[in-house]
Amino acid sequence: MTIRRLNAMALLTGLSLVLFVIEMQVPPPLPLPGVRIGLANVVTVYAVFRFRPGEALMILLARIFLAAVFAGQAASLLYSLAGGLLCLAGMLCLKRLLSLSRLWLCSLIGAVLHNMGQLAAAVLLLGTSSVLAYFPVLALTGAAAGLFTGIVAQQMLHHCSFIKIKNTL
């Protein structure tokens, strides 16, 4: 890993944390647990398409741990980890099937997977399966949020050549 790559990864981690903090200032769009816009996901989608899988994982993990520190919410760490890892795994698989012009679809499915991972963690941590009733609403809001962040990431990929790294893709 060159210094240049490390530098770009640090920049992206910083960017995702800024997006996370901005989102933290905005009240949740719906008073439903687990429903978020997921602005920081823009960076994850970008990293999936522009960086190696291991590097995208490092950016994601650094963001999740630092975001938990910034939010002062260690309790939400496990939900974020479950959702984030499932989302990343799904998007890394989809990347092989989808072209760059279908990046929004990858993000959409990734966001739904994120909410499913969160829900699975919630069932385990809360110790009650009644929360599965949130499945339809979480799938719907996840798809909407993922579509939005996917379109943003797709635009970012087209316009932000300054963090484009040689020898990727």
Binding site: P31, A74, Y79, L126, V131, L140
Partner: protein, 110 residues
Amino acid sequence: MTPWRAAGLGLVVLAVCGMTGCGSVPSSHTVEIVQDGRVLRTVDLTAVQEEERMTVPGRAGTNTILIAPGEIRMLSADCPDQICVRAGKLEEGGLPIVCLPHRLVIQWAD
């Protein structure tokens, strides 16, 4: 397939999922307060005579639940998002009230 067409398709699919889920009606007026997978208390809302505030301390924070005749809601929570408080009272046949950070759920008993 354009993004908008996909979004429209997703909406239809989920609307159908939502409608099939809304048909269920709870058989009783009994609710459970669950923390960390343990049922702390079972309350029959029709048997509640007067208003009561129940404080639930946890490892991550504290919640206060309002138990009133025929009604139960989260009164306060010392977490930043306040989602469980904004959820209002537990609706009949509605979704359980969930406080994710404090691992607390108010749900209808089956």
